[in-house]
């Protein structure tokens, strides 16, 4: 592995390269490299430079507000926070997951499939397909969705419409495109009407067909570039995620399964309400983002990856036929290995999940339970609730404690990207060591670092945005004097300016 590149010994003698901010990810992160006079990389780190204060935002609020409030933590996956919070406050209202009304459970799953589908479609078609279709080192003016629409119109359009369809599922189930109030403590606040159901059914077969096309596309791209795609940014890791009781891939509710890099089981069907006994988080001085690890394996060996690659690696099968066939093909491409470790395979597995979501949406739309029946159930009040789901980027934990007045006194969130913190850092170090070290650091080469990070689809911050921010600036500075040695600036029109001082 590449942990030896986390901290260099002779830092004072090294030059510093900064990629700040990392583009095409949500939020604000930066990469720093320390290189010697021969451009040999001695240290590489992905830093998270914004402190979010999620817990402080939540504490002091009445718990029944949380499913709406927590959507404002993130503009990319608000529904994931909405559902994780809803699962946690179900428990505060005395309802365990197995006691949720059948209709409410199915409506939540439908909402979640819509969310995962639109999030994955955005990431693949909008943020990653330019790299994959045009090449990591391609002209920067090409690395965007408009270039994809211009040169691969059919692919670009499918991406826009798959994303839109997922958003429409969210709108129909939760009543609004954003700030919806679909899930409430103990259930859902509305069923789907027949008109809404029929509106979504009208296009679902097309969405399934396009999802199949997307899986075929990523398989073609990946396999056409073997072994490069299997090696780029690739690291061996443990994997963690929820799993169905029968071992099938699960996105909404299940026990935790964790496997080693060799495919051996670390834990299986673990009750996520005991997550504090399974996972601890380490703080490192150079990043605001914590480093979670499996307690049983320790800080050094216990870090793990989450998200689509982890889920597809961990599951025994997928319970929708087209996605299962795609999973079998995916696993076969890696030969006899129990686990696929290729970081770029995140893309492939992401699209397998899009197909699974589309198939699952069709099944649910044809299920009469989503049209009515019991929607809410209440039990005896509790003072602690824990909700865990598989968000698009991986396992998401919400944990609340409340007082006798239903006010949140303590909150703990472990967001998916935090679980991938060590994985992203290791991938950055792998790329730095194998592809950058010893070369002059040009923008296309540095984009390789961003390609590695983007594969994880990280969500590094929340939904804040304001016009007038510079998207990418690289600086090469003397580590000793901080003098600027060279800079690389990407302007608003995509023009690159390279200045050597």
């Amino acid at each position: 592995m590449y942990e030896h590149l986390e901290t260099a010994e002779n830092r004072a003698e090294l030059k510093r390269v900064v990629v700040d901010p990392v583009s095409r990810v949500e939020g604000h992160g930066k990469v720093t490299l320390l290189v010697d006079d021969n451009n040999i990389v001695k240290q590489a780190r992905l830093h998270i430079v914004e402190f979010r204060g999620f817990e402080r935002f939540i504490q002091g609020r009445p718990y029944w507000e949380l499913p709406v409030l927590v959507q404002r933590l993130c503009g990319i996956c608000p529904v994931s926070h909405h559902l994780a919070a809803a699962k946690a406050i179900d428990q505060l209202a005395g309802i365990d997951p197995d006691d949720l009304p059948v209709s409410a459970d199915k409506l939540r799953r439908l909402l979640h499939f819509g969310q995962v589908m639109q999030s994955h479609a955005l990431h693949f078609f909008h943020l990653s397909s330019p790299d994959l279709l045009f090449g990591f080192d391609s002209d920067i003016s090409k690395r965007n969705i408009v270039a994809v629409l211009a040169e691969h119109t059919d692919i670009g359009l499918k991406g826009v419409k798959l994303r839109k369809y997922g958003q429409e599922v969210i709108r129909m189930v939760s009543g609004k495109r954003v700030h919806g109030t679909g899930a409430i403590a103990g259930g859902m606040n509305k069923a789907l009407s027949i008109t809404e159901r029929d509106y979504l059914l009208a296009d679902i077969d097309q969405m399934i067909a396009w999802s199949q096309d997307a899986v075929a596309l990523i398989k073609q791209v990946h396999c056409a570039n073997l072994p490069y795609y299997d090696e780029f940014a690739t690291i061996k890791s443990n994997y963690l995620g929820l799993i169905k009781p029968n071992g099938a891939l699960e996105l909404y509710h299940g026990g935790i399964r964790a496997k080693t890099a060799e495919g051996d089981t670390i834990t299986d069907h673990y009750d996520y309400c005991q997550y504090n006994d399974l996972i601890h988080e380490e703080v490192r001085s150079w990043s605001y983002m914590k480093f979670p690890y499996l307690l049983s394996l320790g800080k050094e060996n216990g870090w793990y990856r989450v998200g689509p690659l982890a889920r597809v690696n961990n599951c025994d099968f997928i319970d929708t036929p087209l996605a299962e066939a795609a999973r079998v093909e995916f696993k076969a491409h890696g030969g006899q290995a129990a686990m696929v470790h290729s970081t770029l395979a995140f893309h492939w597995t992401r699209l397998i999940e899009v197909l699974h979501c589309a198939e699952s949406i069709k099944l649910l739309l044809n299920d009469p339970d989503i049209l009515g029946g019991e929607l809410v159930r209440q039990g005896e009040k509790r003072y602690e609730g824990i909700g865990v789901i598989e968000a698009p980027r991986g396992t998401l934990f919400h944990h609340y404690q409340v007082d006798e007045n239903d006010i949140v006194t303590k909150a703990n969130l472990i967001v998916s990207t935090t679980s991938n913190n060590m994985g992203m850092n290791e991938s950055v170090r792998q790329v730095a060591a194998e592809y950058l070290s010893g070369h002059e650091l040009t923008e296309p080469l540095l984009n390789n670092l961003e390609v590695a990070i983007r594969a994880y689809d990280p969500c590094l911050s929340c939904a804040t945005h304001a016009l007038g921010k510079m998207p990418l600036k690289l600086e090469l500075r003397s580590w000793q004097s901080e003098d600027l040695l060279a800079s690389l600036t990407k302007h608003s029109d995509g023009r690159i300016e390279h200045a050597r001082i």
């Binding site: 583009s23 095409r24 990810v25 949500e26 979010r52 204060g53 999620f54 402080r56 935002f57 409030l69 404002r72 933590l73 503009g75 990319i76 608000p78 639109q118 955005l122 078609f125 909008h126 943020l127 690395r143 965007n144 969705i145 408009v146 629409l149 211009a150 119109t153 670009g156 359009l157 991406g159 826009v160 419409k161 994303r163 839109k164 369809y165 958003q167 429409e168 495109r177 954003v178 700030h179 509106y199 009208a202 296009d203 097309q206 929340c462 939904a463 804040t464 945005h465 304001a466 016009l467 007038g468 998207p471 990418l472 990407k490 302007h491 608003s492 029109d493 995509g494």
Partner: protein, 173 residues
């Protein structure tokens, strides 16, 4: 494909506000929409939409419109608010989860092979964007000024809007 997603029973005017209501002055867009919802004399011909940030699929919301007004908080505006006419632009927001209005227009043009509807961006000055923060004191005033302008802008006859916009940009408003 039945293409239900494309059969949009649109109102002719779309006001599309972006921002996170829980991030200080980022709430300016959604708050303006709330004020318009109660302040506009009629919503028969005006659709009010809000979202956290602009994305590729918002290009589909522009279909069958005669006018689109984007509303957003901005750190780059020197006065309380500004209005600018938009044209499709392939800018660097394509490299982000959040797109600019001009980039959304560019996607519209690529998807539908036609020019987007006449579109304007109303930028309201923002000062602070912390998670959990209220609207800043200064932004409260900026919001009211932007609201008064928006009311006038949206209730003018459609053909007069470019004239009003031009007057505003020349400082005559």
């Amino acid at each position: 494909m039945t293409d239900a997603l494309n059969t949009h029973a649109s109102k002719p005017v779309l006001v599309l506000a972006v921002g996170n209501p829980s991030r200080g002055d980022d709430a300016l867009g959604p708050l303006l929409l709330e004020k318009l919802e109660s302040g506009l004399p009629a919503l028969d011909s005006i659709e009010l939409l809000t979202d956290f940030q602009l994305q590729i699929e918002h290009a589909m919301d522009l279909q069958n419109r005669s006018l689109v007004l984007f509303v957003d908080a901005s750190v780059a505006v020197e006065q309380a608010f500004s209005l600018e006419a938009l044209s499709p632009e392939r800018d660097d927001s394509f490299t982000s989860h959040a797109m600019t209005p001009a980039a959304v227009l560019a996607v519209y043009q690529m998807v539908y092979h036609e020019p987007p509807p006449p579109s304007f961006l109303l930028s309201i000055r923002g000062e602070a964007f912390e998670l959990g923060a209220e609207l800043s004191a200064l932004a409260v005033g900026y919001l009211e000024e932007a609201y008064q302008f928006s009311l006038q802008f949206l209730t003018q006859e459609t053909e007069h809007k470019p004239i009003l916009a031009e007057a505003l940009m020349e400082g005559k408003y």
